[in-house]
Symmetry: D2
Subunit: 425 residues, 4 copies
């Protein structure tokens, strides 16, 4: 069971002004070491190398997701909507708070190389031998499993899952506002209060009153802009590429039996994919940056160079490709090899739309639930059928191929056919 | 010599909207590894444990100080003020950008224990064998020494020093605005644009037109509020105390010849006070947090416990003391020793006003230059002589003693005379 | 009796984001013609001639005062404070909404000349034969009298009166924030949400938890700054002076039997002080500006000139007087008369502190209730006894004499003794 | 000739923080009575009846358009773009400031009924016997004609015209930001500073660097949202409809020889379409509201009722029509006539897209110049050819028919076929 706090606690928050904690369980979860660890994981990974304000952590984002969820539920309760299952309140709040608790340092790059998955880790932390698990079990023995179910999107009640994970969920609403605030761009701004006011529980779904359609359009446009202006910014992608190459190189060296000058627990277990939740706890961005710093002294020149590039922000340059000419790229790889730049570690082709971030696309192979409008006659319509704006940005696979390469590559020495890739006449 | 950039560069900044770089030298300085290192040093040290938004780095603050200086100089040039020595422009900009380049991780605690001093390190980095020094020398051979002179406040022209370091300098103006933005409080907000407009070079000083007096009052009130509401917040001070105790314990152990389970370059040199600028470069907050994390596994129980407290945010509790009763505190120390809590590491008395932060106090033993008002008859008056508000906050040694101690201390078992300290009847 | 609205209504508001209406009575009051009339009365009178953004009306301010009151009461109810008389909720909301309903156009000038008083008119509108009265009577026959009692500060329960009228009331909190927003200055900004959170009903008073002292200091500093930077701005005072002279001249002419070229109902009744509530309804700023515009064609040159000055913003110039030298001013008056500038209409001495606006001064002959801090031991202390800052701004009669006069006055032709007033050597 | 001011003047502005005046001519223009008159004309006409914050005047908007133009030109000059004709600076600034000087009160309604046209009046004021004309002539005898040419879009240099009047002009940029600020919605917010930075003069056009495409998309989306959420809000349209009917009725009565109880100069000349610039000066919103107030006492019940509806905000209700069924509407008109509600004055069909406001539609019969992107190879492309988002909102004639009618109309008494219009079963 959970108890209300004798006195409401508040956190000062730049995005929501204040975050209100009213339940002992929530307060205890925030104070677990696994949740406090999120203070050492940046919300936007390498993005701070493009937008220097983007140094905020997953800790503040997680509190924000919790707060938006709390506001939605409080609205549902104030209006006494019958379609809202009141008994799920605490479950929603806990899942909102914990949905990102499994995020590791620089998740994208690490996950690509080592096959970890943050959602899976969130569930392991919720279910394993952790402080988080102990707090949740105090609510009831089966409570941790329910929370993990919501995070894994397998929980039986869609309405609970959709608050945390859908095309219009508390997670996205917080990160758009928060990332906009900390980067300083104003693309991510939309009228949160209005959207909260037009949300309704309705026959097992969260829907939106039709009168709020323009507000949702505005939210979706914010998302669109944030993706193209911030999340997919080529400099951020370049940093991501360099970091990915560092890990690929380290993994290769490890598998080849290379003796690292610097090795620290639990790095080896990460390489061996044998991390326990106790080990995982140690993996934060401070750890990873320290490893990178020490690797700048490694004997392996590629590992040392790439680590140094990331820390000193000597990132790869990039060029936009009109199309993907496989043969031409093969030739480039060969030429790079000849010039002493191993293309496996000094070249990356990136196509920003196949990323974990996604723009709104109903009907796609995307597990995210669509946005439904509820009209005055109580019928539901998927929003892109009513809004030309939404139609124009959905199903969008726009995005261009980018080629990343080191600034020092002597492009002028390449043969003209290859040089054309770099759009230099 | 320096050259203008062929095309102005901009950084998106949440506080100033954009930061404009117009000189090759400035651009090159930003790209040195010593300056990039500031991305890994938080601007507000342990304050993020109180205000979770306060995760911004000294990198963004340093850019901000540069930008405010640039705006001030641009105003001086546009108005063609005769008392402004135009030839000092680049010197001012470089000193503004680099004034904090010597800051280490969690400066306050580290400096107290190991006797490093950030200003001194800034000068060493400017003058030593560093990328920063190489960029500065390209301007002229004696340029690094001039920059170090401004940072050390020994440069011959007071007007140059006062832009970077006075009661109304670019440093403070940026940090008040920036810290307010990232913590989310609005105490630090004042009308920067107006203050910039009323600043004037005048006979070797930077002065303020009398018509701007209320704007300066507002700025000083912001400072006052930020000190008492944010910088001296008891939870931040508690985190500082825990951290300080970690380092004190480690130093003691080191001096006693304890064999650390985890030791990493250049930690030993920090203990021995033998850091070179190359070593210093490795010391960032990622490094220090990793050390703390590894120390949670040390055999020494005090070091392990204190490190863990800091990382898990199990900070000390505190109580406000009406006065400092030395005898009573001696008794408390004895009692703690008996209970197994070594008071050297589990108790701290803090008096927030004797800190490196200071409130406005002309006439005090403070090296900061006072604020002078210029009236329509061209005479100068120190502001507190004209403003009752300023008078009321200057010379202020307010502040109360706080006693910090572990939550687990069994206060009830103490004898009543000592228990009174904790204001429990 | 009153009923809740079947669906909450909202107004979009730039200051509070949204204003929420939940009661039929409030909704009906907003839709009365007397309340709608407030759309045609500016909140800040002549201030828009200094700060062009200050064009907002008493309508939006009145909604804001209502909204802040609603938020305070909602907090009281959520926390179930025993000292709060729940049955007074609707009374508070209605009084908050209606406290300014009796404001006329350019109140200060008109009230000075014609002896009307806006608080008295608010009561007459609440009690008279009006739409407002009809809506209030639907609650209960004695309800209008109660509302008038709160507005007139004669209502028996101090706690109700103090919400609307004290040193920390909903009225001031709204106008500081709103006037700051519309003028564009940021002096008026303070943390409303925090202040609302530390307010408590306590033994018949509204008090503030001691932990909120700094937030209240910040609010009081905002007030101080707004008074000296915005409300007492000499250009606003100049416009006020010109307007006052217009009315003085018109009144004199009327009393002398002058035949106005333009006379329109109910202007004559204003002159005769015989306005009924029906007449009063017609008196708005559109009316008054139209009268001024038509008076620019009057035969009386002084009336025509002054009216034109106000509309074309050819205001009086001003000079600050170090002290009030009555003899010298007498000489100036004589000299002006000789030069053909009747000093009764072309000269004004203004001392900004004896105005209807006031800064915080406990113990003064001010009916406003002081701010009391509630400490952890449940004892109350007046704030200036704990806060040095508040002490420094209370009891403040600062302010300087200003002399207003027409730009065209040939100062150089005055004899040197008089010319000294104008600080010209 | 014009001279720079000896000291820059500033206006505090909530949108641009400060507005800077550097030329004597601009300062003198602002102080003319014709420009000051804009203080008495609301920027958004009847919109304040929907969004109560929207009480700002054309005066502040005009200053804003001037300020944005000043910023654009200052950027052009700083970058020394060769394609910018520097000698046109003052012309641009004057035209920016004066482009709306001919706006009358509640322009839309008045213009529809009386055939006045604000652009034509702006030119008449610039060219006629006015203070504005006298100030302009001081620059050079032919200067007024040039300014009028820019306003009328007949000036020979397209680049000058397009700053003030194109799809991305200073006028729109200011009103979107300003109207968003004063209404309190955040749809109108976009990154002005970024857009200004990517604008370029190029071969006689103002173009946008391709790298700024997303910023322009964001601006166009703001426009789209503002049109549908604010400018076309049905309540604003309803107020517009009522006002239009007032004037239609008054005109009809006048033409029928009705003797008005209240008639005031220059109302009759407005009816007769014989206004001179001197007369026009008197026509402001104060004047018009006073006329409406007096007309509430007219003997003609329709004129009295409609005037009262507008002032008391008893507006028409509305219903959205799926399509325009002319026959059905004829029947409704007949039924209304029978019930005593003259449909000429109590019914209005409105289709929001055929208004003076327009959304972006290149290729349409719209005189506004398109937005051109300049790529790195110096070729120009119209933006909708590169941006799917822009394509989706251009050529948009979306919008629905609305039927406006009095709330008191007894719909239930209508026969079922007509009743269906009101979507009541």
């Amino acid at each position: 069971m959970t108890a209300p706090l004798s006195e409401e606690k508040v956190f000062k928050d730049p995005v929501h002004k204040y975050i209100y904690v009213q339940d002992q369980t929530i307060w205890d979860l925030i104070n677990t070491k696994e949740f406090q660890r999120l203070r050492r994981i940046r919300q936007l990974g390498t993005c701070f190398l493009t937008f220097h304000g983007a140094e905020h952590s997953r800790f503040s984002h997680s509190l924000g997701v919790y707060e938006i969820t709390r506001k939605i539920l409080s609205q549902f309760e104030r209006n006494q909507f019958e379609d809202w299952p009141k008994e799920e309140r605490l479950l929603c709040l806990c899942a909102a708070l914990l949905h990102d608790v499994g995020h590791g340092p620089f998740s994208h790059s690490i996950e690509k190389t080592f096959g970890t998955h943050h959602e899976e880790w969130s569930c392991r932390i919720v279910l394993g031998d952790t402080e988080v698990n102990r707090v949740l079990r105090e609510v009831s023995p089966e409570f941790p499993a329910k929370v993990a179910g919501v995070i894994a999107k397998t929980y039986s009640r869609e309405i609970v899952v959709s608050l945390i994970s859908s095309q219009l969920d508390a997670d996205r609403m917080d990160y758009l506002l928060r990332d906009a605030y900390f980067t300083g761009v104003n693309y991510g701004t939309f009228d949160l209060e209005r959207i909260l006011r037009v949300m309704r529980p309705y026959r097992g779904h969260i829907v939106v009153k039709e009168s709020g359609m323009h507000a949702v359009e505005d939210y979706l446009m914010s998302r669109y802009q944030m993706y193209w202006q911030v999340y997919f910014h080529p400099v951020t992608r370049s940093a991501e590429a360099v970091l990915h190459k560092v890990f690929e190189r380290a993994k290769q060296l490890f598998e080849e039996g290379y003796r690292f000058g610097f090795m620290i627990h639990p790095l080896e277990k990460l390489f061996r994919r044998e991390l326990t939740t106790q080990d995982y706890f140690l993996l934060d961005e401070a750890f990873m940056q320290t490893v990178l710093m020490q690797w700048t002294f490694e004997d392996d020149p590629i590992l040392a160079d790439l680590s140094s590039r990331f820390l000193q922000r000597h990132l790869f340059k990039y060029v936009t490709l009109d199309r993907l000419d496989v043969q031409q790229l093969e030739k480039l790889r060969a030429a790079m090899n000849e010039l002493g730049w191993d293309p496996s570690f000094y070249m990356e082709i990136d196509f920003p739309s196949d990323l974990s971030y996604d723009v709104y696309r109903p009907g796609d192979h995307d597990e995210k639930l669509p946005i439904l409008l509820l009209d005055s006659k109580d019928s539901l319509t998927e929003i892109s059928r009513k809004s030309e704006i939404v139609r124009s940005i959905s199903g969008f696979h726009m995005g261009k191929y980018h080629l990343y390469y080191p600034q020092e590559l002597p492009i002028n020495q390449l043969e003209p056919g290859i040089r054309k890739i770099f759009q230099i006449e």
